[in-house]
């Protein structure tokens, strides 16, 4: 503390060496685009900030912005902790991200059309055929079926990280049912309440219009005229961990939230049970995994889902968003080939680099991975949420040995990457009562309708709240931050 002055929030903040920090440069000087933001924190002491932080969390509880914890059916609910120091992305950085995302989604959409059609990319050996056709997520029964509306990935969430060179890289694609967008909007509401003048000063682009864009995107896929279209959001129910988001989307789009038992199919047409009898449904934004959509199609032993739904879909009578069968495009084993897809389909170089990946299904890669296990991050291709992975550099010898057996037994299930020093952002450290560098990622959201894609200017910044941690998932001690994308470059 300086004499005669109060301690300021960012006093003594030091970025980690060898790591890119979102707000400060390597010498600890604020980056030019965040000067205006930091000025808003000038008068704030750590104590004052702690108080505001607590208020923000309280208001999330009372608004019920929570996720349910699976293990507890009595409804234990947790908030996804928000750190109210925002992450700011300059207009210039963002324009590159935007271009890169649209390019990537265009390639992935084309890839899925190809895989469920002629399979040219496999025939020409650009992507190994057995890798795609052998994946559980590939649904051969859907081959030659064109989805109503013609777009297979209307909603995508692409996970980006920022490497020490300051470049955004793609870490993972989510083209099935990406979640988290409700927190983007809710976090903005929170920071607007807490830092109104900073939001204004920093020329932040709004994110609140996402639900309206989403509704327009869904409508564009309807098999009938827009004015006659009835759209619904399909949820597994209140015990699902993302239930808050399902209600959020339904509420902010003004759509009805339905559970599978509310729907039934007759003559390849989907109906919802209403107090006035059955009424037709044309577009379903489903937040249910493929496997639980339709027991007739996926698993006859299951009681979940809407029997006959896939037949209605195949008949072109209902749009399902996203399209079933997309899992073979965001499979972690397919990920290493996305740059090749971009070149193959679009004849362009990828705008966004990604992380070099070893595919254990390839013998050479496998032997490298097994030899270098303690230096690598190994991930199961069919798991998510930070589960089924080995963080080599932080693992014990036993953990490595145990994982080695798993990889040897089923090489197809694993990929490996060198650990990237994820960028950090100043984050409130409750225990230390100060702001400290914590690792972050970014999940932007892309909406695509026939002929055009739109990138939400912002996204979900997840932050590993635990010191030294690289895992940002909400289920594993992660929190989130409001992400500010600037309208123009603001440098003074």
């Amino acid at each position: 503390m300086r004499s005669g002055d109060h301690a300021r929030l960012f006093d003594g903040y030091a970025p980690l060496s060898g790591t890119y920090d979102e707000l400060f440069d390597a010498e600890g000087r604020p980056r030019p685009h965040v000067l205006r933001l930091l000025r808003n924190f000038d008068s704030l002491t750590p104590e004052g900030f702690a108080q505001r932080q607590q208020l923000a969390e309280l208001s999330l509880y009372s608004q019920g912005v929570t996720f349910s914890v699976y293990s507890d059916k009595r409804g234990t609910e947790k908030i996804f902790p928000i750190c109210t120091v925002p992450r700011v992305i300059s207009a210039m950085d963002w324009s590159r991200v935007e271009r890169g995302l649209v390019q990537r989604i265009t390639a992935l959409c084309t890839f899925l059309d190809d895989i469920y059609g002629e399979q040219r990319i496999l025939a020409e050996g650009v992507v190994p055929a057995d890798l795609v056709l052998g994946a559980k997520t590939f649904l051969p029964k859907l081959r030659w079926l064109r989805p109503p509306g013609g777009v297979r990935i209307p909603i995508a969430g692409i996970d980006l990280i920022r490497s020490p060179d300051g470049l955004f890289r793609v870490l993972e694609d989510n083209v099935r049912t990406p979640s988290g967008v409700s927190y983007v909007v809710e976090n903005r509401l929170t920071t607007k309440r807490l830092l109104p003048s900073a939001v204004d000063d920093s020329a932040v682009r709004p994110v609140e219009q996402y639900p309206l864009h989403l509704a327009d995107t869904l409508r564009a896929l309807s098999p009938v005229d827009a004015t006659e279209t009835r759209m619904v959001v399909l949820t597994p129910g209140p015990y699902n961990s993302a239930y808050f988001e399902h209600t959020f989307l339904a509420r902010t789009m003004g759509l009805e939230l339905v559970e599978p038992s509310d729907l039934f199919v007759e003559d390849d047409t989907v109906f919802v049970r209403t107090t006035n009898g059955p009424e037709r449904v044309h577009v379903i934004y489903r937040r249910i995994d493929d496997a639980y959509l339709d027991p007739e199609f996926f698993r006859p032993d299951s009681l979940l889902g809407v029997p006959g739904l896939m037949k209605a879909y195949a008949a072109g009578r209902v749009a399902l968003v996203n399209a079933p069968g997309n899992g073979c495009a965001d499979d972690k084993a397919v990920y290493p080939f996305v740059p090749d897809m971009i070149k193959y389909y679009l004849g362009e170089d990828p705008v966004l680099p990604q992380v070099d990946t070893y595919v254990c299904a390839r013998p050479n890669d496998l032997s490298y991975v097994l030899e270098n296990l303690p230096r690598l991050v190994v991930k199961a291709v069919d798991e998510a949420g930070g589960y089924g992975m080995l963080m080599g550099p932080q693992a014990t010898a036993e953990e490595c040995a145990e994982f080695r057996k798993r990889v040897e037994a089923e090489p197809r299930r694993y990929i490996a990457q060198h650990r990237i020093e994820l960028s950090t952002c100043p984050t409130w450290d409750r225990a230390g009562g100060k702001v400290a560098p914590r690792r972050v990622d970014l999940r932007p959201f892309v909406l695509t309708r026939p002929g055009s894609s739109w990138v939400l200017p912002g996204g979900l910044t997840r932050v590993a709240l635990v010191e030294g941690s690289y895992v940002v998932n909400s289920s594993q001690g992660g929190g989130s931050k409001d992400t500010w994308v600037q309208k123009e470059d603001v440098t003074s």
Partner: protein, 358 residues
């Protein structure tokens, strides 16, 4: 609207109004203990009886406990096994609110959620222990605020009609139960007044007993406290006094809570509202008795109540209330059935109210 959602709207309304009503009843009974010269046991025991929980209460805690105000309050406020306790009602209302989250306005949801979170907090426990009156007040205010927000921030369309249908059906039951609490005393006062010649034995229009002037004054004043307590338990004291210019009697109070057309918790008013809401939800349904649906049942019950109003015999109050409670339950069951919508296919029927506790 979606059948499952309609069902939860209805139950949301019911649970919410039940929570308020329970808080109000506990509050009114507390003050009755101070105001009236009635044995404490006779203040609290009827409350457990009309809640429908008497047998299980007695089997767990013994019959004498039913006269213990603290025990009864704890049971009716916090007990997790008591399906009509305040805490259970608020929990259930909030569970329903979660299901109909996209139907409720943000303000409405937040208020319900905050009430739920508060009830589970140590703050609520502390307030309960330190200032019981304030505790009940706070619960009541929160539930009243929710219903106010429903009216002022939501679309006045079918979901809201279902919600208010739940509220009104619940109120019918609550008002009937509250009236029934002290029906023995009511009948007693009637017969005493008849014996003293103050009242004729024959049915008369709602009579006014001049409590302060009649020879029965010493008793009547004790019991005036009881009647006022019933009115307070229905938020009706001021409304009643306005209509009767301060003259309180068992018969007048009963008539008011049963038949008044303008008091929003009288049985007649609640049934008329139910009738109207059913019309809003399913317009143009003939109230034909042969159809036996909820619309027809409410219509018939309303007409029956009109006839009873003309020839009201207070000593039959218990039978009258029992009939109303039974019929209301049937109306509610009928609504539950109709919510599933007219059948059109052989698709398996929707299980409508699996989540409900009562």
């Amino acid at each position: 609207m979606i059948s499952r959602v309609a069902d939860h709207c209805l139950w949301f309304g019911r649970y919410l109004d039940r929570a308020e009503s329970t808080a109000r009843l506990l509050q009114a009974t507390r003050s009755l203990v101070f105001d009236a010269d009635i044995p404490v046991t006779q203040c609290w025991q009827p409350l457990v009886i009309v809640s429908g929980q008497y047998p299980s209460f007695v089997s767990e805690r013994g019959a004498e406990t039913a006269g213990n105000g603290e025990e009864v309050q704890r049971y009716m406020t916090w007990d997790a096994d008591n399906t009509v306790s305040l805490a259970r009602s608020v929990f259930a209302a909030r569970e329903s609110a979660k299901v109909i989250r996209e139907v409720l306005s943000l303000e409405t949801w937040e208020e319900v959620n905050e009430l739920h979170l508060w009830l589970g907090s140590s703050d609520a426990q502390a307030l309960y222990n330190e200032n019981r009156e304030q505790f009940y007040r706070r619960v009541r205010k929160a539930t009243q605020l929710v219903l106010g927000l429903v009216r002022s921030t939501m679309l006045h369309d079918t979901p809201m009609s279902f919600l208010w249908l739940g509220v009104m059906l619940e109120r019918c039951g609550q008002t009937a139960r509250i009236l029934d609490m002290h029906h023995h005393t009511m009948a007693r006062e009637e017969s005493r007044l008849i014996a003293m010649g103050t009242l004729e034995g024959s049915p008369t229009p709602p009579a006014i007993v001049r409590a302060g002037q009649s020879p029965a004054a010493p008793h009547a004043i004790v019991e005036v406290a009881l009647w006022l307590s019933l009115l307070r338990a229905c938020s009706g004291q001021e409304a009643f006094l306005k209509k009767h210019q301060g003259r309180v009697s068992a018969r007048a109070v009963m008539s008011f809570l049963l038949f008044d057309r303008q008091f929003p918790r009288s049985l007649r008013y609640c049934l008329a509202s139910v009738r109207k809401l059913l019309d809003d939800i399913w317009p143009g349904r003939p109230p034909d008795a042969a159809l036996n649906g909820p619309t027809a049942r409410v219509e018939a019950l309303g007409a029956w109540l009109d006839r009873r109003a003309r020839v009201f015999a207070p000593d039959e109050i218990h039978q009258l209330l029992t009939h109303v409670v039974d019929e209301t339950a049937l109306v509610c069951a009928g609504v539950g059935k109709d919510i599933a919508g007219p059948a059109r296919t052989e698709a398996p029927a929707q299980k409508a109210s699996s989540a409900q506790i009562q």
